[in-house]
Symmetry: C2
Subunit: 329 residues, 2 copies
């Protein structure tokens, strides 16, 4: 059906071209080059694809959604630039993170610059004859998305000091941190394609797709690594993943004390043995199976919501829902 | 004429109230409290005042400019939150900086959150019956301001490694870093008050007011400190202030080598003796007088441009131009 690899290859240059219009590769030293240093590490272009395919399925034009689709990719990327600072991550997609390569001062500033280029990009929709009212709606949706994501980020950082995180804490956090900005490409598409009535259901769809995505990410960190040639980075960072939340409920007091001790160490202090211990514990108590099942349930719920959409859109959203839990990176 | 102390006292609660509408004091832990921890350190409310007084002088209503005026204050404040991270400043207005009090992860995220609350605030202008077209113009002006400021910030960080900074380097940097976001309150006021024809001249005015402001800041760092009970913080950070730029041109090779050695040390390594040496050198070579004269020239040029504005506005801008170079903090 949908060939995401090929679609990605088709769409990537269009998205890069949009971004280049507001962010030329040859620009200010330690700014434009730093942005592209990060952008050229690749990424799946999932969000722009979701925007374009949703828009087209709803009868909207690719031309008019392109700036917004590109802005979603830029949003995703500046989140990563600041996320790496906040998590102390020194590697991103197998290269030194921006703050490591360019220093913390530039790293912080580069993220801020990209964050505002997101809005500049959306404002270029004017040149595509998109109505002011729609541009305002796109800006508004993007502002709300960035705010929700920052709130989710706060919950994530707060949770790390929490030794008895509940499933509700976890779900609130990932809905804030992941769901909104996976949903905004679809919201933008509905705005551009004159289908704003679909937005409440698209938000409901996203509230289930987001957790499916994040829970899969939690598992991938344990099985494949996340672009850092490193298994168990989340363990080193002490993240309260769904695996941690589930395992802490199931394991013995002794195991709990040991797991928390490992999670609460700094990433540098965490040994490979610590990571192996935590990983074994997750498998021992069925936390990985539990997480997989949970991701599948969220996917099913998302699909159930997608059933009310017109057929073309439904097929696309079904595909993304499946893709998100089946991906290997 | 204008009593800025009293005006500040009158306007401050109105601005806080606007900001509180989108950023309640009781909100998420390590987010809302962190924002207000920073906001409550005070500040002169110069930018909101500039927006309100300009708008009223042009016949616009205070009610309609208030959200934008408040957004200028929030913009100023998030710049400071990230600026302190980028400069490694541990103290802001005599209290620990946000990143020191809440940690680097929250500090970065809090700044991002405030940056987007700026736009949410502007979008609330809809409730004041401001037309969509004007709101779009305000958003656009704010995006461009944040982008120019980030570019100026890049130039600032880049310059620190530069051992022969020119006056042009310095001026480009401070126009980027200071002028645009001192100008945007006036641009917003012109939009709201239906005087968009004045914007090009307001920008010219700001391009002179900004350097007058920053050069005065460079001098204040040497004479009064900048809210840190600390003289010569810029020297410790190795900033290429106008004093440094001028002094490096005038001093002997031996003095130059010693000054650069001091500037290129990390802030922690810089001793009080180093600061005293640099300060003496600035006075010896007339750099402080030179800077003062330069600030006055920019002020004169700014006033000259202000002459073409209607009388009410002219008086206000004259006042701000004088205030900016005469202030003691």
């Amino acid at each position: 059906m949908i060939d995401i690899e090929n679609l990605s290859k088709e769409v990537a240059p269009l998205i890069d071209k949009e971004i280049e219009k507001v962010l030329p590769k040859n620009g200010m030293k330690n700014l434009n080059d730093a942005v592209w240093y990060h952008m050229e590490t690749g990424g799946k272009k999932l969000r722009p694809l979701l925007a374009i395919l949703t828009c087209e399925a709803l009868g909207g034009s690719r031309d008019k959604i392109l700036p917004f689709a590109a802005s979603c990719e830029l949003l995703h990327n500046w989140f990563l630039v600041h996320d790496d600072i906040e998590d102390g991550d020194k590697v991103r997609r197998n290269k030194p993170s921006v703050w490591v390569e360019y220093g913390l001062a530039h790293g912080t500033n580069v993220g801020d610059y990209m964050a505002h280029k997101v809005f500049e990009l959306i404002l270029t929709s004017k040149e595509r004859d998109l109505e002011d009212k729609k541009i305002m709606s796109l800006l508004d949706a993007m502002v709300q998305t960035a705010l929700s994501t920052a709130e989710g980020q706060t919950m994530d950082i707060n949770l790390r000091g929490n030794n008895s995180p509940t499933e509700k804490d976890y779900l609130d956090m990932i809905i804030g941190k992941t769901a909104h900005y996976l949903t905004v490409p679809m919201i933008g598409a509905a705005v551009v394609a004159d289908n704003e009535d679909l937005i409440p259901n698209l938000i409901e769809f996203g509230k289930n797709l987001g957790p499916a995505f994040q829970i899969t990410d939690d598992i991938l960190d344990l099985t494949e690594g996340k672009g850092r040639n490193e298994i168990g980075r989340d363990i080193k960072e002490g993240k309260r993943s769904i695996l941690v939340v589930h395992c802490l409920k199931k394991c013995s007091n002794e195991e709990k004390a040991k797991l928390l001790h490992i999670l609460n160490k700094s990433p540098e202090e965490t040994t490979d043995g610590d990571v192996a211990y935590a990983k074994d514990l997750f498998y021992k108590h069925g936390s990985v199976d539990y997480a997989r099942q949970m991701a599948e349930e969220f996917t099913s719920k998302a699909k159930h919501i997608a059933d009310i959409f017109p057929q073309g859109l439904r097929e696309i959203l079904y595909f993304f829902a499946d893709y998100i839990i089946q991906r290997r990176k």
